[in-house]
Subunit: 103 residues, 2 copies
């Protein structure tokens, strides 16, 4: 895994909570969770500039919430669900719960 | 409830996640959860200045994580566990889990 993606044991709770505390980033994570498959960055229709979008993905990646890799000319992103569930059982489930959707 | 403490329905997930994303604030919340009773601000031995401490408590209060009130000359704080559990089932439990303690 690249240096800027922490291994499972290195994922820190406060970093994950911070990464999820932004509405745009939370939307990205919900989308990745719903699709359950890797997506290209450009496929997220976020109403922000490309640089802001890149920033959000970097925060998520560095916190260990998503992993990213290149495939040809695309950069794909996927939720690290197994790693997060192992490290902080129940956290992702609580954050992604329908009851939390309107928050 | 004072104006700067949101009602249960007004508690926002991203605000709660942000409030919990700071190591000092997370420590305060864990302490309140462990004690399960109101505590005076001064009883938390945080290694920060009084103004930083006040800031942390305000962030927690405004996010709906804790409630604060005056009793005589003391300002007491308590975790809004029922409100948080009702609003975001499982979230607090996941954040306070022993497995998350070292994170």
């Amino acid at each position: 895994m690249p240096n800027d993606q922490p291994g499972r044991a290195e994922i820190e709770l406060t970093a994950v909570l911070h990464a999820l505390s932004d509405p745009q980033r939370l939307r990205i994570v919900k989308r990745l969770a719903a699709d359950d498959e890797p997506r290209a960055c450009g496929s997220f229709d976020l109403e922000v500039s490309k640089s802001t979008c890149t920033h959000h993905f970097r925060v998520l990646r560095e916190a260990g919430v998503i992993e990213q890799w290149r495939e040809g000319t695309s950069k794909l992103s996927a939720l690290r669900r197994d790693d997060l569930d192992a490290r902080f059982p129940g956290l992702l489930e609580a954050v992604l719960a329908p009851s939390a959707a309107t928050a």
